[in-house]
């Protein structure tokens, strides 16, 4: 069926191969390689559980990315609402049957993988909004009718994820959605109003937060408040990064991480370990890789003819930026610890799946960049 679809397109298979963005693939491979070494280091240089799992997932999902790249962009366009609805459905399933770990209910057991639907939602919301704004004309965008609907589409998944509770992912979902709304051209004044409203309502919002979330925010404001409890992660993370210096302590020589002072070092704090071992230089290089990744995705967006593709690529690029920024700012102590993985680098199947899925849609945009998408 896939071959049939390929044949039905205007391009030959060779054309498609030619139009693949190899530069993007190389960047992904590079970050992937770095991630394997980093995870290997979290296990003190032993090829065991985490490294093995991470490598397997990386290879599997990277292959999936390559294969799905050939899926026509119109497929994603047509099924974008279904994708969104499927994710909402999965989030409801989590609500009912979800697996509970460390106090939050985020996963569905799929036997080969504990799927975290909120991660998929990060992509689904971009796809959904790209489709929504694809056909709305600039003049109509400011119309309240067209503001209310995306707002509802945004609030439903965000609420479901917050109630898991998983503030970090909820923020990333909402941020990705808002990025697309911004790209579509919603008047700046709405954003300004929203920010003002947010600030005004902040005290009320804080009162609704769970105690552990409040504690995290307070700890972020002053980590020394509770140096062995809530502030522990931030303090230890800063010590690890700071002690890395310019060249770092050397691969597998990060004492902070090697000596197990860092919690969650293979997931949210993978950057800390990397930065401790490779120093300022290594961190800047990794940051540059992410900037190149984002740059390439944006360039793909520019090469596309359809608004759907453009909005998706720009939206996804912004989302990647948001993930990277939130994660790194978090471990550097610039933002509260909210639980946001670093794309590709962090250990975690669902996160890897969603990034690779998102990239495959980008690649699909690139391959079928000249496809016109009509209004269905």
């Amino acid at each position: 069926m896939l071959t049939e679809r390929l044949r039905s397109s205007n391009y030959t298979f060779f054309d498609k191969l030619k139009s693949i963005d190899y530069f993007l693939i190389i960047i992904v491979i590079l970050i992937g390689a770095v991630s394997v070494f980093a995870i290997y280091s979290t296990e003190s240089g032993k090829f065991s559980y985490y490294t093995k799992n991470h490598l397997v997932r990386l290879v599997a999902f990277f292959s999936m990315f390559l294969v799905l790249s050939f899926v026509r962009i119109t497929f994603w366009y047509k099924n974008s609402y279904n994708f969104y609805l499927a994710c909402i459905f999965l989030l409801f399933l989590v609500f009912v049957f979800g697996l509970t770990a460390s106090g939050s209910k985020r996963w569905i057991n799929l036997y080969f993988l504990n799927l975290q639907p909120s991660e998929l939602m990060k992509i689904a919301i971009i796809v959904c909004f790209s489709r929504y704004y694809h056909r709305i004309q600039t003049a109509d965008i400011q119309n309240y009718k067209f503001i209310i609907i995306p707002l509802i589409l945004l609030i439903i998944p965000s609420y479901l994820v917050i109630s898991q509770p998983d503030l970090g992912t909820a923020i990333l979902i909402a941020g990705s959605g808002i990025a697309v709304i911004w790209l579509a051209g919603l008047n700046i004044k709405f954003f300004v109003y929203s920010v003002i409203l947010l600030i005004v309502s902040l005290p009320f919002a804080i009162s609704l937060l769970k105690p552990y979330q409040k504690a995290r925010i307070l700890t972020f404001l002053n980590p020394e408040r509770d140096p062995l409890g809530q502030g522990y992660q931030i303090i230890q993370s800063k010590i690890a990064i700071g002690s890395g210096g310019f060249f770092g302590k050397g691969y597998l020589k990060g004492t902070q991480s090697y000596l197990e002072f860092l919690p969650e070092k293979h997931t949210d704090f993978i950057f800390t370990l990397f930065s401790e071992e490779f120093g300022f230089l290594g961190s800047i290089i990794l940051l540059l890789l992410y900037i190149l990744l984002i740059y390439r995705i944006i360039m793909v967006g520019f090469s596309c003819r359809s608004f759907f593709s453009k909005l998706y690529c720009f939206g996804f690029a912004s989302a990647i930026f948001l993930y990277v920024f939130v994660n790194i700012a978090m471990v550097l102590g610039l933002l509260p610890i909210v639980g946001a993985p670093l794309p590709i680098m962090s250990y975690g199947g669902s996160s890897m799946l969603s990034i690779m899925l998102g990239l495959s849609i980008v690649m699909s945009c690139k391959i079928y960049s000249q496809d016109q998408i009509s209004n269905y």
Binding site: R135, Q137, T138, A139, A179, W182, L183, A184, G185, Q236, K238, I239, A240, I241, G242, S243, G244, G245, F246, T255, Q256, Y258, L259, E260, F261, S275, G279, F280, S283, I284, L287, I291, I294, I298, G301, F302, F307, K310, L311, F314, S318, F321, F325, I328, A329, L332, L334, S374, N375
Partner: protein, 647 residues
Amino acid sequence: MQNRSSTIQKDRVITRRIFMLAAAKLILFGGITSRLYSLQISDREKYELLSDKNRIREWKTPPQRGFILDYFNNIIADNDRNFQVHIDLDQIKDFDETLFRLKTIIGFSNNEIRKIYRLKETLKPWDTLIASDNLNWEQFSKLNLYLHELEGVKPVLTSSRYYPYSNDLVHVLGYVGTPSEKDIENKDIIRENLVPGLKVGKSGIEYSYENLLIGRYGIKRYEVNSSGKRISQIDYIKETQGDKIKITVDLEVQQLAQELLKEKAGSICAMDIYTGEIIAMASSPTYDANKFTHGISHKDWQEIRDHPQKPLVNKSIAGLYSPGSTFKMIVALAALEHNIIDPSKKIRCTGDIEMYGQKYHCWKDKGHGTMSLRNAIKQSCDIYFYETARLLGVDKLAVIAKKFGLGSKILNNVYFDEKSGLVPDTKWKKNNLGFNWLLGETIINGIGQGYIQTTPLQLCLMTAQLANGGYKITPHIINDENINVEEIKFAIKRDMENYELSLNQNPNDIFGKKPERLYKDQKNIKIILDAMFASTNEPGGTSFRSRYDDKKYQFAGKTGTSQVKRITKRERELDLEQSDIEYQFRDHALYVAFAPYKDPRYAISVLVEHGGSGSSAAAPLASKLIKKIIDRHEFREYIRNGDSDLA
């Protein structure tokens, strides 16, 4: 289809928006870069330091206690090799199995095993458990033999307190044990040095000189992971030993004193009458201080605690007794000083006397006949002192008694358990008991009975301060190198020679430091000392049988028999021998003396609880000890003059 212009417009909007967003991203990435810069380059040193602190953990090792030496530099509190078994809890796979193996190898009893389990409850999973801190050599070598099968078990060689003469000096030195919560709370130095296996002083010098003795803990630095598991040793700063403390006690004299008190309950104190150095301070019964070092067994503890003769009480300073007739010197001196009596005053003793409607008895039923002061002291006539006390009044007596060291603590800075005793006066009774003083109480006070309570060391000090001519001395047990005995002796001699002179004019500061006089009239002291000489060295004296005729050893003393229980009329009529009375109702036997009489140097006090009369139970002990002290005198002076090599 959208129309063309709208499409172009939309495209423009999106392009503009993505550029704005890209610019914002770059700014935020710039922010992250600058943060990385500030952490990793500007503040690098600070975080490196913090990281090292994280990585390196210190384990403190217990310090070595300082030695305690006697006056002749014999080590009387030593440190001994000590074999221990440590179990590193974080390296043990199966605690139960390890313990079972240890049990078979070392031979722990079930009780010990239970103790180890209880101990484990209190420890963190990475702590070191000291399974036994006192193995014998056989157990220790056996453990080393099987060591390869016992992962996480470490045989450790440490040092621990050992008292070579434990039974002879336990009351002087005290003993050590594991610090209690109170110890930790009260003493900063213990808090600073608090490490597993630390032993601290629990009583005596060990307790009061903790700051000097404790030393300083050592540090072993290990690289660790966050759960505290050691990865490698980086550094080892050896622990330092505490300071040496030299005390004034003569081990041989002390040992003899303890020997003399064997099978008895009581105390012997000996003191240098010029320097105030305590040469012996024995208390009986005694116990083995070494038993406490590794935690005393319940059975042993019970035995010591429940012993009817109370070995735990240091009787020399914490035992309170009526001074009995040994107090008569003070009564006589007070009367002389206040010009109440004349040394030639005669009082007739018929065996009893009636005063204020109450009958008072002399210890000699038939009476002594007509007594002068000298004879009254010599034969210890009670009637003479009833009358003297009556004339004197309790308040004037109390002033002199206090002057000579009764009623206040002497070594309070060393022995926290020291008691001050009691020198009663009218004010004291009114304030503390709420009643007015009764004249009858003054009368029995005259023979050292009634409310008055003294410790044997106070009696020794009293005797010393009489023997040196009536000058104040400061008793001490921790050796003071700055004391120059010749200087003190010379100053006293000079003061005595200048006595007549000083009555007319004030020779203050002409001769520098002046010894503090406890008397008003020098003559009076001489009268007392002469009477004490008579008591020992003249026929009819109460301690005549214990005398030495050799001038070298000749001493002068005063017996005392302190009643534990009021003698009822019926008992008096029965005229019971002491041996017929139940042990706990027998009299305490006391004796105070100084020697040699010609040129006094040492004072001694002996107390035998329920020993009967002072002349038969206490004076012979004093006699034996005085000989020993005087035999050792030359050697002692030799050491004093700085040649410690001989010791």
